[in-house]
């Protein structure tokens, strides 16, 4: 019951949605849209698990005064603040006249979103600009022909995509300046490489999906 039923469910769901691609006749044409609603609703429930788990771990750290309990306390406080404001603004927005969305500019939720959440996530990713530069200097070596080709392509694309590339190759006729090299690399060489990779990934995904449907791939169910 614990292992056979889920595999059967996965098999039936997989076959139905596989066939639904080929049958326009209702109700099959509605399956993909129904599934998008179910997927969205289940995702909304699943995040309750994630959030509750995060809160549980953080609470344990705070109560047992673990080494980084302050860090955990800050996680709890910021989580509670944005959730409380989110619910408050949401309900206020629904019952206001004219109703507004909790995400509208001017609501407290939007203020938290712009000034805290998006600032932090943008800066977190922006850090990588520095790490890429230091890795370029200390680790990226033309150690063999393949790595040399890679660095050359990167060289021409990076310089070609900014005006400085054309300043350097200003002495060439317009059609042969570096920005045209970069466009040619992108439109021809990159297209060919990307296609080979996309076809490879597509075939890989078909075989993984088939194994999931036929119940050969069981890792997602975990232990008994």
């Amino acid at each position: 019951m614990r292992r056979e039923l889920p595999l059967a469910i996965a098999f039936i769901a997989g076959v139905i949605f596989f066939i639904a691609y080929f049958i326009p006749h209702p109700p099959f044409n509605r399956f993909e849209n129904w599934f998008s609603d179910w997927f969205a609703i289940v995702a909304a429930f699943a995040i309750w698990l994630g959030a509750l788990n995060l809160m549980k771990i953080s609470f344990i750290k705070v109560i047992r005064k673990k080494s980084d309990w302050l860090h955990a306390l800050l996680i709890i406080i910021s989580f509670v603040i944005i959730v409380v404001i989110g619910f408050y603004e949401g309900y206020r927005g629904l019952h206001a006249n004219p109703p507004f969305s909790f995400r509208d500019p001017g609501t407290a939720f939007d203020w938290l979103y712009v000034n805290v959440y998006s600032t932090l996530s943008a800066t977190m990713f922006a850090l990588l600009a520095f790490f890429v530069a230091s890795a370029s200097y200390r680790a990226f070596r033309a150690r063999n022909l393949e790595a040399t080709l890679l660095l050359l392509a990167a060289f021409f694309v990076m310089l070609g995509r900014v005006p400085i590339g054309d300043v350097i190759t200003g002495w060439l006729p317009r059609a042969y300046q570096m920005s045209q090299w970069a466009s040619w690399i992108m439109n021809v060489l990159n297209t060919a490489g990307q296609r080979a990779i996309m076809i490879g990934i597509a075939l890989g995904l078909v075989s993984t999906s088939l194994r999931i449907i036929l119940g050969l791939e069981r890792s997602y169910i975990g232990g008994d």
Binding site: F22, P24, I197
Partner: protein, 422 residues
Amino acid sequence: MKYNSVVTARFAAGWGCLLLFLLVSLFSMPVLAQEEPVTVDTESLLVVPDSLPLEYYPLPPSNVRMKDVPNDAGGSLLIEWDLSLDDYEGGKVKEYRILRGEAAEGPFEELGSTARGTASFTDNQAKRGIKLFYKIAALNYEKTNGEFLWKASSESDVAGPAVSTAQWFNLSRLNIFIGIIILCGAIIYFITAAKRGKSFYIRKIAGIEEVENAVGRATEMGRSIYYIPGISDMDDVQTLASLTILGHVSAIAAENDTRIDVPVSKSMVMVTAREVVKEAYSKVGRPDSFQEDQVRYITDDQFGYAAAVDGLFVREKPATIFLIGAFFAESLIVAETGNSIGAIQISGTAMPAQLPFFITACDYTLIGEELFAASAYLSREPKLLGSLKGQDLGKAVFLLAILIGVILESFGVPVHELFSVR
């Protein structure tokens, strides 16, 4: 793996329902063929309201005909008509209005309008299975800044009844259906063949061949080996492939009596990795030299994990580092530190965005599918070997198609139609 009956039952069920479905769609083919043509052609009446003089009125369009749009869920009809004779540059026709009613004389509602010179409109609100009647009105009008000065329209005769039907099989996707059936059939065939013990050839993969000398280097220098299985959890296929390779590397490390450390970022991965390494040690006859803390959990946080691993590299100075699995933006932080302490690095991932960093920073890299091919090669598991062979067959078909297709295309044979999507 025990050859259990449930799996074969499922194979039979899967194939059975697909064949059944194929038969149903084949038999339904003739039924669809005879679509009754719907054309009505009678002399049209000029409707003359009292106020406007006759010559304002354009001649109406004629020969209105409808066709059910094939391969859809019903609910859409293609309406076509011959242009009104007054439809030319500067002519009297400015627009056409499409009107629909549920009875020949019944109330007509306006569906939409098309610009002068167009002779077709798709009505995709035609409820399935209901008889519908259409007529097209040619419209002449004068407008100043959005307001109508006057309007004169003359309608074509009523055409109908037309019914939109839904088809059980989308014929335009037949080529895709055949393609996916061949591919899935090949994968299933190779998996069952591999289960029955048939051995398959997999070409040499550079990264895996190097494992021996990389571990050998660590043994000579008397330093440890670090194995980083990526930061994804057990639901990522790349992590599963990485753990297979970990088993292989641990076995060689145990033979050479060199310590292998596996810091991980997900607790479930730690549990599985411990099993894999312990089993590798016992397989080589060294169960006692395995210590639990060789495989330990660091943190779930991406950058926290990268910073912690960097610290370990700088302190322990391992001779050989493996970075195999699913990596994200932290990949270059770890690879850079590994490079700066002069270790030999073998990496492998299927994340396209991280491959450039691994290729330039590491000595050997398993590129995309090579990661999965390596785990199939090492584990000899039927489902992995069978999938790999099935995918190779798919690639072979595509390679042949491209080769032959390009040649034939140069002579004008539209081979690409075979693969195109409508």
